[in-house]
């Protein structure tokens, strides 16, 4: 981490845990605890794109929500500018809410259908008093230009826009707050391929222009390879591996990471026909009853007796490359 270690992290996440209490059964007579996030720690460096990948239910979205205090954590700390966000009440959080923004998967359900695009983008500017009343209109126009939409779109309603255009509006709304950090929660997953590429390019361009830091939550590994600085792989509420992008894709240490990469299809017929895939058997176990020991052991092709009882520690296998696996102990390969 030599180059990164010199700068202070923008966010430090320490031991972040989120349990949800749920009631089961027709009459809610049984109680259960969903271990959505268990003892997750990592730093987010200024200006980077840290991607979080994993299958549905692995806790990647919960991680994003909990960092932003949209869910209050069960335990753990989120350090931002020297403050622990988890310890702040709503009022004290408000200035931080402006700086820490989120873009969701489905912009249609996050935009108010009765507000014009212009009103929707102006709302955060007015709320946070980021510009005098007279300048709001020009600020909205600049934001529309930033996200590549014509100024006349300010008069339109969300239903008049295509999915890609609505996602541009959602990005403009986040930008209106002049944020430092944006969680992109599956922000491009619902878009068609040709549109997806447009939005990825836009996000990268805005990052350079405004020095933004992204937590990019996604399940498409090819997209993640394209845009990330570092990548964290989550499985059942825990981080299995975290490494700089090329390390993670080039020499993955965790068997789960390897299996995930092996499952991704390539747009190359000859390669696909020859390819020997390592296909994971079975499904992800329920987060209401996560397996003892290593959580991946029920599906791991390499699991040993030790994996079934002892939880692997989170350690740095090589500089900047973290992994939680007994078998990667020696540094892998």
């Amino acid at each position: 981490m030599n180059a990164l270690a010199k700068t202070e992290p923008l966010l430090q996440i320490e031991g972040l845990t989120k349990h949800f209490h749920v009631r089961l059964g027709a009459f809610g007579e049984r109680e259960a605890v969903v271990h959505a996030l268990d003892d997750v720690s990592f730093d987010i460096m200024p200006g980077e794109t840290l991607s979080v990948v994993g299958e549905s239910g692995c806790g990647k979205s919960t991680a994003g929500f909990t960092i932003l205090q949209l869910h209050r954590p069960t335990a753990g700390r989120i350090r931002y500018q020297g403050r622990n966000l988890a310890g702040l009440d709503e009022k004290a959080l408000r200035p931080y809410r402006r700086e820490l923004q989120i873009i969701f998967q489905d912009p249609y359900s996050t935009l108010n259908p009765r507000m014009t695009i212009g009103e929707a983008i102006a709302e955060p500017i007015l709320f946070h008093k980021l510009a005098p009343k007279g300048e709001v209109k020009s600020r909205v126009e600049r934001l529309l230009a930033d996200v590549g939409l014509p100024v006349r779109f300010a008069m339109r309603y969300p239903h008049e826009l295509s999915g890609g255009q609505r996602q541009r509006v959602a990005i403009a709304r986040a930008l209106a707050c002049e944020p430092k950090f944006i969680v992109c929660d599956e922000a491009i997953s619902a878009l068609d391929v040709s549109i997806q590429a447009q939005i990825i390019n836009l996000l990268l361009e805005l990052q350079r222009k405004y020095g933004l830091t992204y937590l990019f939550i996604a399940h498409d590994l090819a997209v993640v390879r394209h845009i990330s600085t570092r990548v964290a792989v989550m499985y059942l509420g825990r981080v299995a591996e975290l490494a700089p992008r090329d390390r993670l894709f080039g020499s993955p240490l965790h068997p789960y990471t390897r299996a995930l990469l092996s499952a991704v299809p390539e747009a190359d017929p000859a390669y696909e026909r020859k390819r020997q895939r390592q296909i994971l058997q079975g499904d992800v176990p329920s987060p209401m009853a996560p397996p003892a020991g290593c959580r991946f052991h029920t599906r791991c092709p390499l699991a040993t007796d030790r994996c079934r009882v002892e939880m692997p520690v989170w350690r740095e296998a090589s500089p900047g490359h973290h992994v939680a696996c007994h078998l990667a102990e020696g540094g892998g390969e």
């Binding site: 255009q165 399940h219 390879r225 390539e266 747009a267 017929p269 026909r273 895939r277 058997q281």
Partner: protein
């Protein structure tokens, strides 16, 4: 694999057009689609949302939603026109000779009926099996699609199964009556990559075992690369390119196909700085431009493209590679 002799295709769709009734009058969603599926062939139908790929296949099964109707064309399956068939006859084909699997197994399975019963249904209806026979066959089918403990699972309800297992149940239902053709509409889109890989694997295995033809509808060019024999690319309700799979990925001749392939980020490659993307958005049905529907987004569009729509024609040298683009010949030469 596509046979070389000009034998009758299993399914031959000609000039299919579909319209939706809107407040402003009818809008054309599918505009003269023609495609064929050979016996034992797996055809990929690719396109973005709204291109008409799902409606095309639903229309063959007589399953179009209200307000959407076929206004022309034919679909010859085993010598009979599916589009002209009386409902009672079509019902025998649907789920019998043509099986289908949809995107979301949670909404296609009945939540209050045990899965065994749902797998048995086509066997009882199409094959006149006794309940005992059908139940035995249902257990075999669940085993065939790789459901562990298949026989005990017969009495489960859909909510007791994971998404991947539910999709396997859908495949078992689709294959229950040994169909000649299986239509799969984005069957893995709602699933995680590791589960998607499982499903693709099981379909390949079943295809080798049972030899049915498959139409796999998808938006994901990477997913079908190793799965299909031929690909039909749709844009705004028309076929823009139709080619054997290797040809399509190596020498795509339509600017839209080329744009699509270029905008997919690849896992193998180092992340390039900027993804190439196709500007603009597809036209809405009813607001389609007069000429080529792709012209407004096309990087090489010229005057003639705005005047007339190009027909789907074989590339120079004939063969199975067909393209609907005035510049296709030039593109193919430049690439070769």
């Amino acid at each position: 694999m596509a046979g070389e002799k000009p034998q009758e295709p299993l399914l031959n769709v000609r000039d299919l057009s579909i319209e939706v009734a809107t407040r402003n009058g009818p809008a054309r969603i599918v505009d003269g689609i023609s495609l064929t599926v050979d016996k034992g062939e797996t055809l990929g139908v690719v396109g973005e949302s709204g291109c008409g790929k799902s409606l095309t296949m639903l229309s063959l099964l007589g399953l179009l939603p209200n307000k959407i109707s076929v206004i022309g064309g034919s679909a010859i399956f085993k010598g009979r026109d599916l589009l002209a068939m009386p409902h009672r006859e079509l019902r025998k084909v649907r789920g019998g000779e043509i099986g289908f699997v949809f995107q979301d197994p949670m909404t296609s399975l009945n939540p209050v009926v045990r899965i065994g019963q749902q797998v048995m249904e086509p066997l009882l209806y199409h094959r006149n099996m006794s309940r005992a026979e059908a139940r035995k066959r249902a257990g075999e089918l669940l085993k065939l699609v790789g459901i562990p403990g298949a026989e005990e699972r017969l009495d489960n309800y859909p909510h007791e199964l994971s998404g991947g297992m539910r999709q396997r149940v859908m495949i078992a239902i689709g294959l229950a009556c040994d169909p000649a053709l299986l239509i799969a509409d984005e069957p893995t889109t709602a699933l995680d990559v590791t589960i998607q890989a499982q499903i693709v694997d099981i379909v390949k295995e079943l295809r080798a075992k049972l030899g049915m033809s498959i139409v796999w509808i998808t938006h994901d060019l990477a997913l079908i690369a190793g799965l299909v024999d031929r690909v039909v690319v749709l844009y705004a309700g028309t076929v823009v390119e139709d080619a054997p799979v290797d040809v399509l990925y190596e020498n795509p001749a339509h600017p839209y196909t080329r744009g699509l392939l270029a905008s997919i980020p690849r896992l193998k490659d180092e992340g390039a700085e900027k993804l190439s993307s196709i500007g603009g958005t597809p036209p809405e049905p009813g607001r389609r431009p007069a000429g080529c529907a792709f012209a407004p987004r096309c990087p090489i569009a010229r005057a003639e493209c705005e005047r007339a729509a190009p027909a789907l024609e074989p590339l120079k040298g004939g063969g199975p590679h067909r393209v609907a683009c005035f510049a296709a010949g030039e593109i193919a030469e430049a690439v070769a």
